[in-house]
Symmetry: D2
Subunit: 362 residues, 4 copies
């Protein structure tokens, strides 16, 4: 690494301004504003954002719910974190990524020195900062990320490349243990649940069963390759026992954050099977540990983030091998339509929505 004292920019739109979606105050709402284009630090990249997809977290921030109040900012700050774009400038200490390369962002900025980071678990770094939550985000024409957080990609459309971050969640949740030849249940067909269906099928799962309450999402689950999609209000457990010779499913991926879904998963999983928890639970769950966990001898994995960088390598590989996320993307909107985008996500009448910061409002 060089030790030049100041950032040397190879090429850049610096000094000018950009459009960005800013959380301006500690209250509901947000606004598109013209703000200065940020300058990369010594080991950072300036990236022109070509696609920035919307995560449920972004809606929490816009709506300013208790989680956002406790974790975000402080305002005013740009939010958004899922992204893909092109490097347009870099600090003097950057060595691996060149200007002109296309990159997605690992959105968890970790310290690389804590116990977790030094033992292969950087995804639960003790000093984590998250892009678009603790540091300025990606609902903007440009953003700055550390070089170490940039994942260079080639030959992927920006809207798909931006989805690598949530796809990585699905990959991590699915691949904590082997998948090939196993039966799996996905509870909750939001975007990450939908992606996980495709991941499981690509990895040779014997059968993938999906549940949800929303007919639009259930239809998407079928398009993503689920062998059977069930309304969670039906006798899901009975049906899955039937489909699995009475054994129950080998794998449960809990993607809904719903206690009801969790209990269905715990009832449906075979003795000695495994459950990945990824859906965020906003209220505590009441679990009969003896009957639902201990006497069934199951393994439960808390899943957050992505394994650095194993998950990214495998995510890229699955895309290369033809894993298709396009059925999930239901809307592509300019930044100015953010309010519509957030309403759609909140309503459940959308799959994945991609904001296109370089496009003017239609």
């Amino acid at each position: 690494m060089t030790t030049e004292p100041a950032a040397v920019i190879d090429a850049a739109p610096l000094g000018t301004t950009m459009r960005a979606l800013v959380k301006e105050t500690a209250a509901p709402g947000a606004a598109v504003r013209e703000v200065p284009i940020p300058e990369p630090g010594p080991t950072e990249l300036l990236v022109r954002i070509e696609a920035a997809s919307v995560c449920g977290t972004d809606v929490h921030i816009e709506r300013w719910d208790p989680w956002a109040q406790e974790n975000f900012g402080p305002p005013p700050m740009i939010f958004g974190h899922e992204m893909a774009g092109t490097v347009v400038a870099r600090g003097p200490g950057v060595t691996r990524i060149a200007v002109g390369e296309t990159v997605a962002a690992e959105t968890h900025f970790v310290d690389w020195t804590c116990y977790q980071c030094r033992t292969g678990r950087a995804h639960v770094c003790q000093n984590m900062r998250i892009l678009g939550v603790h540091v300025p985000g990606t609902f903007a024409q440009y953003t700055v990320i550390p070089e170490v957080n940039a994942w260079a990609y080639e030959g992927i459309a920006p809207e798909i490349a931006a989805l690598q971050e949530p796809l990585g969640n699905a990959v991590f949740a699915a691949f904590v243990e082997e998948v090939a030849g196993q039966t799996a249940m996905v509870t909750g067909c939001g975007p990450i649940g939908l992606m996980s269906i495709a991941v499981l099928k690509k990895a040779g799962a014997r059968a993938v069963f999906a549940t949800d309450l929303n007919p639009e999402r259930m239809a998407m689950a079928e398009r993503m390759g689920a062998d059977l999609v069930l309304d969670a209000r039906d006798d899901v457990v009975g049906r899955l026992r039937q489909e699995t010779d009475g054994n129950g499913v080998d794998i449960v991926l809990e993607m809904s954050g719903s206690s009801d879904a969790l209990h269905q998963g715990l009832a449906a999983v075979t003795n000695g099977g495994r459950v990945s928890l990824l859906g965020t639970h906003s209220v505590p769950a009441t679990i009969d540990l003896s009957q639902e966990v201990i006497f069934k001898a199951i393994r439960i994995y808390g899943i957050t983030g992505r394994r650095l960088w194993d998950t990214w390598y495998r995510t890229t590989a699955l895309l290369e091998e033809g894993l298709d996320l396009t059925p999930i993307i239901t809307h592509r909107l300019p930044l100015a339509d953010y309010a519509h985008a957030f309403d759609l996500v909140a309503s459940g009448h959308a799959g994945k929505i991609v904001l296109l910061p370089q496009e003017e409002q239609l």
Copy 2:
């Protein structure tokens, strides 16, 4: 295997009677009775019981709590399951174990043909029957067990040999992942918790921290080798953070069945650490899955029984290497003193109690 139609007994006290502790009716209580000595089936062993230790389950059965009402029997039936003794007769299809050998019992009788049994998870067989719960047990001078459930041992005192079954629980809970060089917390210093302290130390744990509310048990935890024993009412989490450079513990073994202890364990475990649940929870636990499990990316293992037979091999090995359980045994009583034994267990003023069925009342 031979196909001789009837049990050929090599040597035996058959045709006579024995003393046994019988759960006579579907109500609290039990009674020592003279009953016929059972006859082994074609692939079964008749064992003269030299030691039968008391498990919390036995107290549930004697007190006839809801769990017992739902699971036991039906009465009248002998109960008890932890045991060690000498084979005195065997069925004609028995090939591996000889008359005169000393054996302990794997108390889970499994079908060896279900999905779990055929994929290395016989401890969660779909058609499990448990000795002393579903079939006649070991609080008796003699009992019958399948040959396949007999674990032959040599050079171990009967009272220790009987403890191999619960020790196996502790070994299984501790060894689901590696132990050497890791910090561990044991919540709950009942007999299995106490055993797990010794197991962890024997396996090279960096430090073992134990919690309980009962001063007698806390004193026993120290005798079993715990590096630090804490009153669960104190600031356990703060103290353990301090003891672990702020990282939290790598391993939690939840041995109490208490929600409070579980929450302390989930708070104390390091990000990306692992938790084994073995203590039976009689009421559901309310868990903040997002904060306690998902964002910490921990792994939770439901633990029941013992892995057949890996756990038994490793349990034997630890005893051979000098793991000492004698500090746990606080009482050795004849069968007739069963009521005193159960009262002691229920009161918490005992470690492990061993009944000696061959001894007359003192």
Copy 3:
């Protein structure tokens, strides 16, 4: 299990004779003979063979090479082991499999009582007997197998069902560690190598590279889905480095038994990667352990048989999910054409050959 003294046959062609391929003497050759139909023991099944595929081992036996001289028989004995058929009779102790069910055979008969069998490694039982090698085999109209070795299947053509046994080898070799999103090299495109290509693709491998010297096999490798098939005489290692961004492959499956192929695999595997050895080496290999194994920190797995029964479950699952073995089957022949079949296998001008014992010579 019942204890009736004699085998009770539910239905059967007993007492009559059948055609079978018999290794008659300790010398090259074999002969089709009329022999008595065998009678199942108490816990055995009599199976009418509908397909019996030819393994390289069978050729060794027919040719009477040193391995056969040391391991087979003794003659006279029927050989052959890969098979699928219908249960036509069963012993009185049989409980799980009914007459009329279709079954394939796990060809390794294990004792279920040795250290390996009791610790999840029955595939390396210390007292293994192999069907068609140590006990009479399956190149016959009927054979007898232990019930415990029968794998019931439904909805699979007999010629494919017979291939489940070698397919299990491929599945075991591939699945000792995770496959999805990883690059893999298969050295040797004999039948098991070809199957492993399909297995790896089905399990989401990022890319599968295959090598061989035989153009017919190389063409079959492409039909099985290999991304790239290379002549082993070319610069395989250089090409694979190129195909993997200079990293080398994550997985090597050595299926040839050739030292040259092994060295290519060890050179091509990425640092910290893994190598499964399945191809039988008839002569010792000379390995630079420091450079090829230690300084690369690779893991080498010796693979034999199939994991009981995990491998069978996963093998069945892959077939259900559409894994297609038909491109491998190049010949279907009546028993009488055995000599032609063995010549074809020995010549390398065949994929898999299936003998059809119920068919008269054409």
Copy 4:
């Protein structure tokens, strides 16, 4: 990280000279010279060496054998790599380690950006540089290491602290799979073999068997806690079968680099067991892969370096828990006695030799 342009030294003996053992030319030999004290770069530490132990590698360098000719230097360069000392100055980008802290060195300097480094396998980085082999080493009064390679320790004597690096080799080799309750064989009682005996015992191995040809080393193996030490010329395999109920050992750690020892290990390991290879083989080994590896279904692990940083955490923990390496240290010598030290190592009449660079010749 700060971006100050030049190294700011907190405290230091810079500008003066130090004694160092220098490999001066591409020929056998070395010499103690007065050389300038090196200056730490922006992210580096200057360490005053208090103990520098001698590794076999150092002897290869001094003797200038083919391996050294191919890998070292180029001369003139200081060699030596195992060390412990006190930080006396640091570059301006150093953030974690303070002047005054005591540190040992992870001697493998990796790039943190290659495929291996980004997937948890930095110990086989594609661009590894080794302290004392590719960059100036530690047989000197001072040395410079990257901050990221410094392992801070407290409360350990320098001579033991220096041994953490080779101890880490032993820990890594032993802990690639679980140890507690398993039987183990260590072939070769050089320093790392001796350490691994203590590691295995500390981690609860059921029994540790050691082999060597050298009576002095065999005596040390007993002092390190081996349950049985055998002369490798005796019937080792027969004896170990006897000691393990005929099963063979679960674990083999090959620490000798001898083909004969390897074959004994492969013969002694139980079916389905595991073998760690760490001893460097100077000539290729001839292995009957079918009989020694495949049909036994064993796993072979190439071991090099230490897992970053899991191995270091566990190594520290074992020392804290009382693992005692002092019986291994047979000589403590000033730098000037280097020739005597190397002769002793080459002769096999030494355990571990520690050079003390701050001491004048006696």
